[in-house]
């Protein structure tokens, strides 16, 4: 747009000085530079020699030219030229239309700079400016255009303009234009966020009324992206990334962040051209997943690139008390149905009461087992008082011997509904009561309860009844105990007494009970939820402003706007996350009518001030002149010349914006490894695992460097099939499911490595998936010696630090080494097998900060992981050297005698 070739001067009269150049030329010619100084031993021979021609020394022509150019540049700089100033269209007013919705937060600094520039031009040309933001303002007022103002005042308004965390409303913006009733023709510049919707066409038509419309727009790749909340029922957190489908291929990273801002998980998602919507899974251990409060697209600081998580996305551990260790007929087992109902929404653990309570539990399900042991009952009670929810399922045993871990008192014996000896038919449930955890659940009509256990009537039975049969008898009762709850389903979940376990109602009931376990009362909130923290336009949480209103109960939020910005609503006991994505449809690119002038956002400014460049040229020419004069007088020694030339070079680089060349390193792996001792990891082909291994060994190497005399090089990844292994003392081998049995040649190589003093640490990095199976598959055909769990006697416990446990990112899994040891190999085990994901705990990023949180957590655990690493490397480097200490007591004993 505009004619770029126009050149205008701010002070054109300065050009008159160009007329003085010939005089300057004459003057310069007449005053040659001083003679060059030269020492000369044979001067005696020169003295007395007179030249025949009596010629006058002259200034060399090239120096003359240089100085004339210098003078001309100074004059030109004084005239202050501006290249390609926009042709001033009289003094027609300028209408600046700015999209400042959530999508404009992307590239906001560039947008603001563009606005500044436009306003600056208008100020130079004396144009009045009207500013129209298209998103509703934060104070809740309707969208309005400013009056026609002097450009200077608009510049102040532009400084105050910020992107809002809600979408634009172009319909309202068009209306605001109508109200401004500006009839004269205006130059219209629309700084758009690049997104369109069905109301955009009308808006564009309205803008075109004023005459020429120019649109400034970021490239398709620079358009904002949207992150949608993950599905509630998936095993992992699986948000979707949406973007404009016409954008070029791109890679982006999505990460999960905890309350303190630590990254819990990062995943990369690649978009092909034309792809606009992609789901991405962030696999995390449950404990980490429950700590995640926020998902975000990296480097996308917009409200749309952030998803806030609340309790709905927590997966809670549920314990199934299973004393029998697998029943004979699973289809009759209550736990089978509980398992099926919960598997998609919670992490399940089966086991005895004692084992289950060793880890955190939200909900425990206790089937009809007969008498609970004294100790177990006490432990369960204590746990419930701490805030656990105990769900008991009725059955024949409970009917015979009710104990006291129950919400209500029970009458002995069951109640049969239907059957040969009864008049009644099996019954279904009454509609769920309005209050209580199950409020709002619909009861399927094919539900049949054949037998139940009756509660002893009492004054509080009614309050404690959460669900009733058609005849009003309680079917689910619950009572608080300490900070937790005792809940009883008065029938079986298995097919013995009812078909509750087979109905769709059962999972919903369990979900409600799970919610209960975190203090969120069931159902939708029944009181208004006050805003706690809201997102600003750049996706950061801040305190809500005065116009933000509380969320009304049971009203789904659809209108994200100044009154309901995305953010957290609620109170300490529970908060609800409202995300922008729920109010934004699929992202569509902006479609403009043919012939609209479109400028790219990052394009060069239309008007370019040439004065700074000219002044820089003057400085450069002065330096050149200095060098030339020094050279002519013979004062320029080569060393000085280098300094001067370097100075000029630096100056030139600073002017052109120096770029650095990064040199690639391509040394052979075995050469690298042979030159310096270094740790190595096996490349698995899974980029995430490989990155983690590399970062982990890097972290460990740094710790070794700091604490021990082992100074190791940068770790390398090796391909077991291709690279030589013999040069590495220790090989870290993360076992992924994708590694099958090794080909025989590779197998032989690995066996050879282990036989001749190499040490391999196999890490199955269990995340609840099948570690032993993966290991078995990988180890097929390897010479695995008989294994034993590492005991306190093993050298590994004392090769540097004295250790009792070996935590990595997770802890508790046993660590195996060779049983006994091969004397030929100094009793050093050729392999160590574990599952604690050590690399994850060791991993550090470029700044040396830990990359992953450890589970269950604490820097203590990470420290222990590092200590294990140090011991491991010492074990690999020094063998059983420290084993002597094992015999030290015996040796001392002998010395005493």
């Amino acid at each position: 747009m505009g004619s770029l070739s126009t050149l205008s001067f701010v002070t054109p009269w300065a050009l008159a000085a160009l007329g003085g150049l010939p005089v300057l030329w004459w003057l310069l010619r007449a005053t040659p530079p001083a003679p060059k100084r030269q020492s000369f031993p044979a001067l005696r021979l020169l003295i007395g020699l007179s030249t025949a021609e009596r010629s006058v020394a002259r200034t060399p022509w090239w120096l003359l030219l240089l100085r004339l150019a210098l003078a001309a540049t100074v004059i030109a700089a004084a005239a202050h030229p501006i290249l390609g100033a926009f042709p001033t269209p009289g003094n027609a007013p300028l209408l600046l239309v700015v999209d400042n919705g959530w999508a404009a937060a992307k590239l906001w600094p560039q947008r603001r700079a563009t606005l500044d520039r436009l306003a600056g031009e208008a100020a130079r040309n004396g144009q009045p400016v009207m500013l129209l933001p298209t998103a509703p303002p934060a104070d809740g007022a309707p969208i309005s255009a400013s009056r026609l103002l002097p450009a200077g005042e608009v510049q102040a308004m532009i400084q105050a303009l910020e992107p809002h965390p809600w979408p634009t409303d172009r319909e309202a913006a068009a209306k605001a234009l109508d109200e401004a009733s500006q009839t004269t023709s205006m130059r219209v510049v629309w700084l758009t966020d690049g997104l369109g919707d069905e109301r955009t066409d009308a808006f564009v038509a309205r803008l075109n009324h004023f005459g020429g419309l120019e649109v400034i727009k970021a490239s398709e790749g620079g358009t904002a992206k949207l992150l949608t909340p993950p599905r509630l029922d998936a095993k992992d957190l699986t948000p979707r990334v949406r973007r404009v489908a016409s954008a070029p291929p791109a890679m982006m990273r999505v990460r999960g962040v905890d309350e303190a801002g630590r990254t819990l998980a990062v995943e990369t998602v690649g978009f092909a051209a034309g792809e606009g919507d992609k789901e991405i899974a962030l696999p995390m251990p449950t404990e980490l997943r429950n700590r995640a409060v926020r998902l975000e697209i990296e480097d996308e600081a917009t409200a749309g690139g952030v998803v806030l998580l609340d309790d709905r996305w927590r997966r809670r551990p549920v314990g199934l008390v299973d004393e029998s260790g697998g029943g004979a007929s699973p289809l009759l087992d209550d736990l089978f149905y509980a398992d099926r109902a919960l598997s998609s929404m919670a992490e399940l653990r089966r086991g005895k009461v004692r084992d289950l309570l060793q880890r955190d539990l939200s909900l425990a399900i206790l089937p009809d087992l007969g008498n609970l042991g004294e100790e177990d009952a006490r432990a369960l009670k204590a746990w419930v008082e701490q805030g656990g929810v105990l769900l008991r399922l009725a059955g024949p045993n409970l009917a015979r011997n009710p104990d006291d871990l129950l919400p209500v008192r029970l009458r002995g014996g069951g109640r049969m509904l239907g059957g040969a000896m009864s008049w009644t038919r099996p019954m279904t449930l009454a509609p769920m009561p309005e209050v209580g955890p199950f409020s709002g659940l619909t009861v399927p009509n094919d539900l049949k309860i054949a037998t139940q256990i009756l509660a002893e009537p009492g004054p509080d039975l009614n309050d404690r009844t959460w669900a009733r049969l058609e005849d009003g008898t309680p079917l689910v009762t619950g009572a608080p105990l300490g900070r937790g709850w005792l809940v009883l389903i008065h029938t079986t979940v298995g097919p013995g007494w009812s078909n509750l376990g087979m109905s769709g109602l059962f999972p919903q009931m369990l979900q409600r009970l799970l919610d209960l376990s975190h203090g969120v009362s069931g159902g939708a909130a029944d009181h208004p939820l006050a805003p706690v923290e809201v997102l600003n336009g750049f996706g950061q949480l801040e305190m809500p402003g005065g116009v933000v209103e509380a969320l009304l109960p049971k009203v789904a939020v659809t209108a994200i706007g100044p009154h309901h910005p995305p953010g957290y609503y609620g109170n300490e006991s529970g908060r609800v996350a409202i995300n922008l994505a729920s109010a934004v449809g699929p992202l569509m690119p902006l479609v403009l009518p043919v012939g609209t002038a479109v400028t790219s956002l990052g394009a060069r400014p239309v008007a370019r001030d040439l004065q700074p460049a000219l002044l820089a040229a003057v400085l450069g020419l002065l330096l050149l002149d200095l060098v030339a004069v020094l050279g002519l007088r013979g004062l320029l020694r080569p060393r000085r010349a280098h300094i001067l030339l370097a100075a000029i070079g630096v100056f030139g680089m600073a002017m052109s914006g120096g770029r650095d060349a990064s040199a690639g390193t391509g040394i052979d792996i075995d050469l690298q490894a042979a030159l310096q001792t270094r740790l190595a990891y096996v490349l698995t082909g899974d980029a995430r695992v490989d990155d983690s291994s590399r970062a982990g060994l890097l972290g460990l190497s740094q710790v070794l460097e700091r604490r021990t005399t082992a100074s190791l090089g940068e770790p390398v990844g090796v391909d077991v099939a291709r690279d030589p292994l013999m040069v590495f003392p220790l090989l870290y081998w993360p076992v992924t499911g994708a590694q099958g049995p090794l080909p025989s040649a590779v197998r032989e190589k690995v066996n050879d490595f282990m036989r001749h003093g190499g040490l391999i640490l196999f890490d199955t990095q269990d995340r609840g998936d099948d570690g032993p199976e993966k290991m078995r598959r990988l180890a097929e055909g390897l010479d695995i010696p008989p294994l034993a769990v590492v005991t306190e006697e093993h050298v590994l416990t004392r090769s540097f630090y004295l250790l009792r446990e070996w935590p990595g990112r997770s802890e508790g899994a046993p660590v195996y080494v060779q049983d006994g040891g091969d004397p030929a190999n100094d009793n050093v085990s050729p392999l160590i097998i574990g599952a604690n994901d050590w690399a994850g705990a060791w991993a550090v990023d470029r700044r040396g900060d830990p990359m992953y949180a450890v589970v269950p957590g604490g820097e203590q655990q990470r420290e222990m992981a590092y200590r294990f690493g140090v011991n491991l490397v010492m074990y690999a480097l020094t063998g059983s050297y420290k084993a002597d200490q094992v015999h030290l007591p015996a040796i001392l004993e002998r010395l005493k005698r």
């Binding site: 040659p32 530079p33 003679p35 060059k36 100084r37 030269q38 020492s39 000369f40 031993p41 044979a42 001067l43 005696r44 021979l45 020169l46 003295i47 020699l49 030249t51 025949a52 021609e53 009596r54 010629s55 006058v56 020394a57 002519l632 080569p638």
Partner: protein
């Protein structure tokens, strides 16, 4: 980096390795010359075997070669060849005009002069001759240990470009390394005096290439190194031919003067390899 004398000494020894040990050709050898290893083709004091001869009474018993005598009845005495040494004086000029070079990649003339002098000295010392520096503190002496002392002596003397007037024994040799940018009268007088007392020698004329070609251009202020003052030349290139002619005349005068006293005259530019002039010097001394 070792100091200059040590560095030059190393260079000189390296160069000397490629040259044969040198014995100065001496036509007339005074009977009083000091013992050295000039084989005089007759028996006398020395180290090399010359001949066996029959024992005569009066010979010391220790002179009998018992191994030879045991082969037959008569007793034999081993006689060695008579050896004698020559004295050579070297004088590398160290006047200010010698401390100059036109380009940083060239050696200073003084440095090259010292290198040539030292190399020659090293070769001579290998041959068993006695070498000394004119105007130095030490008297001429033989032996490998002399070389470092020579090197030191060359750099000790801050000369003024004038030949030191020290007594030089008859029949010795004098090697003068200089740019000879001095009035030739005093030099000629000295040469004549030496020549009359039977001293022989070689003049080695060292010049920097810039002193030969005068490569300067344009407006130049030339300044001398020995207080000759300044000379401003508007266009240095215009002087080149006249300067060349004058330099040629100067050289010719030098050469003629040298020939007149029966000495040898050698030319050397500091941009040339030292080996060339060393071989020429070697030949001149060996009398070829």
């Amino acid at each position: 980096m070792p100091p200059i004398p040590r560095e030059l000494e190393l260079q000189a020894e390296a160069l000397a390795v490629s040259l044969r040990p040198l014995l100065v050709a001496s036509g007339r050898v005074a009977a009083s010359v000091t013992q050295g290893i000039h084989g005089r083709r007759q028996s006398g004091p020395g180290e090399n075997f010359w001949q066996f001869r029959r024992y005569q009474s009066g010979d010391p018993a220790g002179a009998i070669d018992w191994r030879q005598s045991a082969k037959s009845d008569p007793l034999y005495v081993r006689e060695t060849e008579w050896a004698a040494a020559q004295t050579i004086w070297v004088w590398p000029d160290s006047s200010p005009s010698m401390r100059w070079r036109s380009r940083p990649d060239l050696p200073e003339k003084r440095q090259r002069a010292a290198l040539l002098a030292l190399t020659t000295a090293a070769v001579l010392l290998q041959g068993g001759e006695r070498v000394g520096v004119l105007g130095g503190r030490d008297a001429p002496n033989a032996g490998r240990g002399m070389l470092p002392r020579l090197a030191d002596a060359m750099f000790d003397a801050a000369g003024d470009g004038r030949l030191p007037d020290v007594p030089v024994s008859r029949q010795s040799h004098v090697l003068i390394f200089s740019d000879f940018l001095m009035p030739l009268d005093s030099l000629e007088a000295q040469l004549r005096r030496w020549s009359e007392s039977g001293v022989r020698g070689v003049l080695i004329h060292l010049l920097d290439p810039a002193e030969i070609t005068l490569p300067y251009q344009g407006h130049v202020r030339f300044s001398g190194l020995e207080g000759e003052g300044d000379l401003v030349v508007p266009r240095a290139e215009a002087l080149r031919d006249a300067y060349g002619a004058r330099l040629g005349a100067h050289r010719a005068a030098l050469a003629a003067m040298t020939r007149a006293v029966g000495w040898r005259f050698l030319d050397h530019g500091t941009d040339a390899e030292p080996r060339e002039v060393l071989i020429a010097l070697h030949n001149a001394l060996a009398g070829h």
